[in-house]
Amino acid sequence: MKRPQFSPITKMRFARFKSIKRGYYSFWVLLVLTLLSFVGEVFINNKALIVKYEGKVYFPILRSIPGISKQYKGKDFGEDYTYETKYRELQGKWKAADSENWILMPLIPYSAGESDPIDMKALRVQEAQLANQLTQDLAKLSRDPSDAVILAEKTNVLQSTKEKEVSRLFKEAFHPLPPNSSTKHYLGTDKIGRDILARLVFGYRIAIVFSLVLMLFSYGIGVTVGCAMGYYGKWVDLLVQRIIEILSRVPFIYVIMILITIYERSFGLLLGLMVLFGWMGITWQMRTATYREKARDYIMAARSLGASNARIIFVHIIPSTISLLVTFIPFSISGAIIGLTSLDFLGFGLPPGTPSWGELMKMGTENMDSPWIVSSVVGAMVLVLFLVNLVGEAVREAFDPKKFTTFE
């Protein structure tokens, strides 16, 4: 069987893409980031990787895939509850008891949807210590023979410092927490105590899947319709042109905002709407490319040899316009990520609770005393879009090189 082979021109393009170092490396970095996010549960999870309990080894992480098997319950590991094991707690308990059993947690022991409970017990203990300190200080003060006014003043000072201490204690203990490696919240937590890094990673995963699926659909429609417009021309072209002109000027956010009040927010609805309003760009490009290609002599030759329309379109026109499509892919992806994030920011995106950059950014602008929320999400966004743009630039240069003459 003949192996499918790339044409020499395609090979040359790949070679040229490889030679543009910053684009090529950005592509690999992005690929690795994306693959890592697909197995993100291994690094970011509230389920333990390995549990060694009474000589036996368990792998709770393997039971995180829903529907495969049941999760380990607390009583499986000698705890007295029958719901899912709280591995973080158990790990601390075993460590403190210096037990034979041990737990290996993922790098970031939190899941994206889970809010890290505040350790109220420890907080109360610290508060009690402060109160204790105050009574001791007050007792010391009362032994000190001095006049009543100064005594009252000193008492006041002590009391207010204690109150300040307590409020600082509580403020530091409550969410949002700043980035801290000892709590393992490396980028801090959001307002309701969810780990920001976890939400960033899983938000990225959703965004990239969303944009890839979106791209697939809109390119599918775009290639079909654009090709038909360019190849058949005449009234097909005119009709679709009007539709495109209308659709591309309807403010799509208006339609989304109105439809959201009727239907529940969902991945599918959002995808459908974004496809509905996003297929025009690629269609337009495809139309122009088909027109240009159709006018070439080799198409005429094919037709005079008796090739059918279908053969001309699928064997000749589409393969020769494919390079045009490839150059648009990175920009479609960055566009989709920006679009999804801004819809989430406005509250018209994915269902509430879904990890999303837009939602985090909104939270960041609402909690201005917690600047780490905004800075991490904007940082992540800039990093990803920067890489995507570098890839896009390199792809474009590789597929459609413009050789410039420069003068000395």
Partner: protein, 347 residues
């Protein structure tokens, strides 16, 4: 050529009808219109009165949502808001009014929609004009420099800025700026178009106040088009510089400077001219993402809040005006191209 532009102008009409009909139709299909709002308001009122009258009877005689309005009231409201069971007829009436520049009254503000929109225009024009000026004043020379020093240090260094501009959407920059510059470092005001005590300030203080409020949103408006325009300018100029006529000019002994400034630059400005016509839409421009971050009460916010509050007449008014300006802007762009480039023939 005149025939072409007349044809284009006439083609605006079906497009305009298409755009407005899509939005009109989706809006009418959605629940929660002004009638329902009136019904709810009435219900709340009745409940309150019932609550004041006595607990037991109020819960027993809970009015059903459908019955809150009497048929007479409902018919009156429907007439007032121009709503009937026939969407097409309603739409026809709306279009007929729009042709006479009557956009109706806002359900929420109770004032004429056109007046409402015009009252928000100064903010859009302010930001639009300044950003247009800055973009052209910075991007053209910058693109020129980058093209001349292609692959040089200056080009590479400024490319970093340009790539950054591509990578960060305006509102994300806004979120960052408002949290750090305005809130945490307190260098500039958090938002709003002017301070509350603006009226009491002297002229100089007013200008300073306005500038202080404008800096951050301005950065957000600028960042996207800054990157785009700079690269457009650079690429165009590079293309012209490698064209044969420049080489010919150089071969004939024209100085390098003159070849660029007298020959290449003029031609590379043509695509920049195509963007000029669209500036007409800055009359009602303004992104509500940026406006909502900086709490600016502009046209973007008006459209956004009126959708949220189902103020249909305002939504349709904003849409009608911005769609018309956009369509006109496109034609204007083509006119600009035809004006600066004698080779272009439309027809």
């Amino acid at each position: 050529m005149t025939a072409y532009f007349i044809r284009r102008l006439l083609l605006m009409i079906p497009t305009f009808i298409g755009i407005t009909f899509v939005v009109f139709f989706t809006m009418r299909a959605a629940p929660g219109g002004p009638i329902e709002q009136a019904r709810q308001a009435k219900m709340a009122q009745m409940q309150q009165q019932g609550g004041a009258g006595g607990g037991a009877s109020a819960t027993a005689g809970q009015p059903d949502g459908e019955e809150a309005l009497t048929p007479g009231e409902e018919a009156r409201l429907m007439k007032e808001y121009g709503i009937s069971d026939n969407i097409l007829a309603d739409y026809g009436r709306w279009i007929a009014n729009v042709v006479r520049l009557d956009f109706g009254e806002s359900n929420i503000y109770g004032i004429d929609v056109l007046k409402l929109i015009i009252s928000k225009m100064p903010i859009s024009i302010f930001f639009g004009l300044i950003s247009m000026f800055v973009i052209y004043a910075v991007c053209i020379p910058l693109g020129l420099m980058k093209a001349i020093k292609h692959r040089g240090f200056f080009d590479n260094a400024s490319s970093l800025l340009v790539y950054f501009g591509y990578a960060i959407p305006g509102y994300a920059l806004g979120a960052l700026l408002v949290v750090f510059v305005a809130s945490n470092w307190q260098l500039l005001p958090l938002g709003g178009f002017v301070s509350e005590n603006f009226a009491s300030l002297s002229f100089g203080a007013r200008v300073v106040d306005l500038i202080k409020h404008a800096i951050l949103p301005m950065c957000c408006y600028l960042i996207g088009s800054f990157a785009f325009m700079t690269m457009l300018m650079k690429n165009q100029l590079m293309e012209q510089m490698s064209a044969d006529y420049v080489r010919t000019a150089l071969a004939k002994g024209v100085s390098y400077k003159r070849a660029i400034f007298r020959h290449a630059l003029d031609n590379s400005l043509i695509p920049i001219a195509t963007t000029f016509g669209n500036q007409i839409s800055l009359l009602v421009g303004g992104s509500f993402l940026i406006e909502s971050i900086f709490n600016i009460d502009g046209i973007g916010m008006l459209g956004f809040t009126s959708i949220l509050s189902k103020d249909y007449t305002v939504v349709m008014g904003v849409l009608a005006i911005s769609a018309t300006l956009q369509l006109l802007g496109n034609i204007l762009s083509d006119l600009c191209v035809a004006a600066v480039d004698p080779r272009v023939k439309f027809g």
